[in-house]
Amino acid sequence: MRLLLLLPTATYRAAAFVEAARRLGVDLTVASEQPSAFQDANPAGLVTLDLSHPDHAARQAHAFARAQRAQQLHGVVGVDDDTAVAAAAIAAELGLLGNPVAAARAARGKHEQRTILAAAGVPVPRFTLHRLDEDPHLIAARAPFPCVVKPLRLSASRGVIRADTPAQFVRAFERLRRILSEPEAAACGEPARHALVEEYVSGSEYALEGLLVAGELRVLALFDKPDPLEGPYFEETIYVTPSRLAGSAQAQIAACAQRAATALGLTEGPVHAELRYNERGPWLIELAARPIGGRCSSALRFEPGSVSLEELVLRHALQMELPSLERERRAAGVMMIPVSRAGMLREVRGVEAARVVPLVEGVEITAYPGQVLVPWPEGSRYPGFIFARGDTVEGVETALRAAHRHLEFVVDAD
């Protein structure tokens, strides 16, 4: 069996998916938006696709499939927001399992997603769409405070800013304007000329990891986010699972995510949903047609025998038999290490001490010496990840925090 894996070159996900394919004995064709150095040497295994333009990518994939008839493709998987849309377009073009293209596009665009979900009665924050060239003072006069200013396309909460007053709103709006004027952000075109303004929803935040099979949401894990995400910026930190939320509330969250997926028209493959839960119940903040980002999937293992999330995703795309989808019994967690200070990274101290904290399974420093660390809201790259596993979620959370306290990022300030 051969799978077309859409891997943007800036992904953290390459190792996990390549390893999952190896474990399953699946041949890979890896598609990226920039050519591999080995593309000419392995034309069946490497291909360049225009991943940011799904229709073009689908035509390119069609041409590739015709040229490589001897290496038939049996499935396609995207690993992030952009490639999820490209995967849907390619699946439609090649007759492979996937989401409808319109559904994948709707999930990709924050405004389109909210519009569809609100119309379907899924609880989402009240929102308005604005052009970046509008006068923020006029928008502030009508904004619901506290509110959140968001870009339509950026990932990892980049550019997301809370404002409690009109003056804060104007500053937040102008700051987002600057972020979206940066070349790599502006490259997404029209979405980079707009901002979403939505009411701030109080409450605890949760992340649901799921797999859609013929439209039915199978919940793989529900993560608590124990650090309050109250702004003004929304850099993630700790995820722990299983959730400590009451079973009835967890069921409400799962039902909310299912309603959102159905409303968007998503039917197949991984979903990652961010929700808030307060006295009024669950609120869908975002639902993406992709698995959890960064290195966070390493926190998840499934029965039997430590099956990875990536193996489940590949099995599903290839229509192979799925194992139980039951997460292991132990508690698990990951900390996306926050950027504490802007500047050029010189070294990271305390890694060895962090690694030997009881229950800590790994400390992965992904930033390299010389890399410029950029705090949120301008930044979107975590300098590393800490993983822990144990009998209780409290123990896991404590271990993550203890390990983090050992780490010191030595930075040459700007």
């Binding site: 591999s36 960064g294 010496p369 596993r389």
Partner: protein
Amino acid sequence: MSPADVRITAEPIDNGRCKFVVSEPLHSGGVRRFASAAEAQGSPLAEAIFAIPDAGIAEVIVSGNLVTVVKSGTAAWPVVGKAVGQAIRAALAGGQPAVAPKPAAAGNASDDDTLYERVADLFEHDVNPMVARHGGRVELIDVQDAVVMVRMAGGCQGCGMADVTLRQGIEAMLQQHVPEVKGVVDITDHTAGSNPYFAAAKK
């Protein structure tokens, strides 16, 4: 230096593989790969690692200050890693070399030597000119029992697409040009890469 002064950093690659970077050199005679407890006889470090109970140790590769351990058991790396750390410290504290020199006529040495030459030729004329386009370099460290050991440098070291380069590029070329090769092992310390060609960002 006392065992307590030895610093060991564990870098799990996945559930089955983990690299241990040691502050002291363990073996200066190139790379040694042990695929069974029997092969490890005479090398105290490898013997001790294979003897870790319930870990299902399948392979131990020692190169300079780097130990790569492959296991098939489900025990977590923090558990197995502590035992590996103890084995490393004990080996360094012992009176004899942690790893014995590679036997001159061991196993399929002559076959490996032939393979080494063919792989080296492929690396020199094909692989390295290709990765050089991305500022990278792939060093052939050794061939043992038809398994090729490589170390990546330059733009490849720490690159977000290093696994793709290894599996879809280097391994595919080896399958095509030197089909006798049974596998490729990357012994690179990717965390030390300071100029990766593709750097990752959370998506």
